[in-house]
Amino acid sequence: MKNDRPTGDIATALSLVTGATILGGIVLACRKPHVPVKKPQATVAAARRLNRAAGTLAASVLIDSAIEHYRGNFHNKAMITPLVTASLSLAASLHGTADSKGEAHVIRDLIYAGAGLTGLVGTGFHIFNISKKPGGLSWQNLFYSAPLGAPAAISLSGMLGFLSERLRDSHPDMPPKILGIPAGRVIGVMTSLGLMGTVAESGLLHFRGAYHNPAMYLPVTMPPVAAALLGASALGPIRRHGRLTRWWLRATALLGFAGTGFHAVGVARGMGGWRNWRQNLVDGPPIPAPPSFTGLAMAGLAALALLEDHPDD
């Protein structure tokens, strides 16, 4: 048998990730460090909350990609990549969550940057996979080929972690800023965009499942409202919908966990139910996927707290 695995692409992928990460590391190592002084506790708390959010997303990606790529038989060796980066991102996030120091950590920074890049490269791979199929960019291939939106989740984890590090790195005497913009606004907008992307992904896959259960409409109705409220707070006046936004984000965080429960019920509806878990866990609805909403909602709550702690309007 001829080996038709695209081995060349693995090398490209790995060198891209490694190269970019090393480059990022050099940049980070060369930057001028801030004087390590005691930061306002609220800023560090927000950073730790972002670490926690990044960790939740990383855990979701780790388990989900492990199951899905196992299903794909790891037929391309690059399919191991998200398992490695998600594990590292999870470890960095645990470390960050426990770390109350008011300064960025170069290893965490490196890992988060790597995770962000992995998602981008992964998206490229998944587009390549779709383009090889007859029909190209068609519903059929969006449903069943490598999922277009999935690798973005590890990018989101990396992004949240990276933002967390920037938060720790901010100037001690001023409200935290990222690229000169109030940090709460940056994190709020990015999280809002991330939520919308995740909504698109679950909308596509629930459409594939023909919305056969009315609960499948929840992730395409609740999180968009959360994203809109958060986006409005991040772009406009903060206090107008603060309470509503916070509660809606909390509900969205709960929805992520509820989704896992719904998906567990979905697995039970496969032939043989949970007794046949080895098949149904792999072919049924992905149990680890919904908590990515939880991770993003947690980041949204952190952004909201920053906005409220440092009102700039």
């Binding site: 059929q140 023909a210 259960n213 509806r269 098949q279 072919d283």
Partner: protein, 552 residues
């Protein structure tokens, strides 16, 4: 295993008896079922429980009529009775003795008949396609065959209802024909064989799509999503397949219908006023008589004319509903030729449903020098069937056959479903020999016409070109196969040239109806089951309307 004999052998004794019927969704489960006395004159007796009979049984019962559905076959429990074994599953076919003749005798069995509660839909390949609208007026619009007395727009509506009732999994956009509503479920993932059809069609510049199939791609009720075992042209042992057995039949029972399994109807009785009075049927070792106000025959293109002809009496010496002389005539089958080849890459064509992709290009393209249309679909015959094709059509035996079988996982194929034209010489008649019930055996006479042969040759050429374009090697043609049936009791708008009217009501006997594939005036170039289901749903609505007007 349970000691209960009703659980162990579906053929030993009827299962739908004693006020209950098998619950096909639960191992060992039962559904309460209403039962009628033979002397009770029920509103409707439906003979046959397949694509034609099943929807009528359910819809009429839901409208409040008393209904009994008869089937000569067994009441199978898919979760318990279906072994993953090609030979064992032949129990689902109608393999009773028949005599076949003509220049191209039709091989009877799995591809054209079923003997089970649920009829052939228990083992059908689930392909659920709509007719091209013009086919309902093929005589006036396309210049061949006969016109149907039905309007395609009305049929479009009933197709949608049939697709909803059977939870058809189909593509988001169907490339041919007028707009249709979205299929209830999304299409299934393509397997290796289906991708090769798609690549071939793209290379030829033809459109292709995922095939609309009656097996769910997501859970529906008690049906789990399809797990792609590939035992699809047999009984589906997971109940993902939306056969009549798991859809309309349980619906009918819930609405108060009775099902009588292992009950062979041998004769329809008529009274002094010429109307049908009931049916003679054989069950539990003896002949019985069930009184009925209306009789609906839904036994498909062989058993339906056989029953009508066998019910001849002094008043109707040529058989029932046969004043036109057309009962049994215009039998049609569909050409089911194939082209097979070998790929370098592993294909594993047996994974998943066998017909996952399709091109209907030549059903909608009229620039050709023959009448009728055809489609072709991806293929995935299981090993025994494949060995039969290689031995039978390719004449391989011994070591060459063994070598051929070694390449099974690399094999690909395209198989057509082609329209054959109606011809009165193709027909079902009765012989003087009798079968196990003492009923006269049908003789099935069939010869291909010149148009049929031209269509087949065109299709074989096209399918071969498609396989050639994707790099298949060692290509060969299977030239001898046919499948689905139709005709023998055609519908029309004139009592002299048809057997039933648009409502499937016979012209001669107002309380005798025929509703199955035998009423097709033309065959069309797609699998007929969805059209039969749609017509059956329409007939149920028409009966409701007629009953309301007191015209039954």
């Amino acid at each position: 295993m349970s000691a209960d004999p009703f659980l162990s052998d579906p053929f030993a004794a009827p299962r739908a008896i004693g006020g209950r019927a098998p619950d096909v969704m639960k191992a060992g489960g039962w559904l309460p079922m209403k039962q009628h006395d033979n002397n009770e004159e029920v509103d409707f007796v439906v003979i046959g429980t397949g694509a034609g009979g099943g929807p009528l049984i359910a819809r009429l019962a839901e409208q409040g009529f008393s209904v009994i559905g008869f089937d000569a076959g067994a009441y199978f429990r898919p979760l318990e009775d279906f072994a993953s074994d090609e030979i064992e599953q032949q129990k689902l076919y109608w393999l009773d003795e028949r005599i076949i003749d003509g220049a191209n005798p039709i091989r009877m069995g799995g591809k054209n008949s079923g003997k089970a509660v649920g009829g052939s839909t228990v083992h059908f390949a689930m392909v659920s396609l709509r007719f091209r609208p013009e086919w309902f007026k093929s005589h006036s619009l396309l210049g061949y065959g006969a016109d149907w007395p039905l309007d395609w727009r009305e049929m479009w509506d009933y197709y949608a209802r049939a697709e909803k009732a059977l939870s058809i999994s189909g593509p988001v956009r169907y490339p041919w024909g007028p707009k249709r509503p979205r299929y209830p479920y999304r299409a299934h993932e393509l397997n290796g064989a289906a991708e090769i059809l798609a690549r071939g069609a793209e290379a030829m510049g033809y459109q292709w799509t995922a095939t609309p199939l009656a097996t769910v791609s997501a859970p529906h009720g008690d049906s789990p999503p399809c797990v792609y075992r590939g035992f699809c042209r047999f009984g589906c042992s997971t109940n993902a397949k939306q056969s009549q057995l798991v859809t309309f039949i349980p619906r009918g029972i819930a609405a108060g219908a009775e099902i009588r399994d292992l009950a062979m109807v041998g004769r329809i009785e008529t009274g002094p006023d010429g109307r049908a009075t009931g049916v003679h049927y054989h069950r539990e070792g003896r002949w019985r008589f069930q009184k009925a106000r209306n009789v609906i025959v839904a036994g498909y293109a062989i058993e339906t004319p056989r029953l009508l002809l066998a019910s001849a009496n002094d008043r109707y010496p040529d058989g029932l509903a046969n004043s036109s002389g057309l009962v049994g005539k215009n039998l049609m089958t569909q050409s089911n030729q194939a082209v097979f080849g070998v790929m370098d890459k592993e294909v594993r064509w047996n994974k998943g449903p066998p017909s996952l992709s399709i091109t209907e290009h030549w059903n909608y393209e009229d620039r050709k020098d023959f009448h009728g249309g055809y489609c072709w679909m991806a293929q995935g015959p299981l090993p025994v069937e494949w060995a039969t094709i290689v031995a039978g059509s390719r004449k391989r035996w011994g070591a060459p056959l063994r070598e051929e079988m070694m390449r099974y996982n690399h094999q690909v194929g395209l198989k057509m479903v082609g329209e054959m034209l109606p011809d009165e010489r193709n027909r079902v008649t009765l012989t003087d020999e009798v079968d196990q019930y003492g009923l006269r055996i049908p003789r099935i006479t069939y010869s291909w016409g010149d148009n049929d042969k031209a269509l087949i040759q065109h299709a074989l050429g096209e399918m071969e070109r498609s396989l050639d374009l994707v790099g298949a090697k060692d290509i060969f043609r299977q030239e001898d196969d046919t499948n689905h049936l139709a005709g023998t009791a055609r519908m029309g708008s004139d009592a002299r040239s048809s057997v039933v009217n648009a409502d499937c009501r016979s012209w001669d006997i107002p309380n005798l109806w025929i509703c199955d594939g035998s009423i097709f005036p033309t065959m069309g170039g797609v699998n007929p089951s969805l059209t039969i289901t749609a017509i059956s749903l329409r007939t149920a609505d028409r009966i409701k309307a007629l009953a309301k007007r007191g015209e039954l």
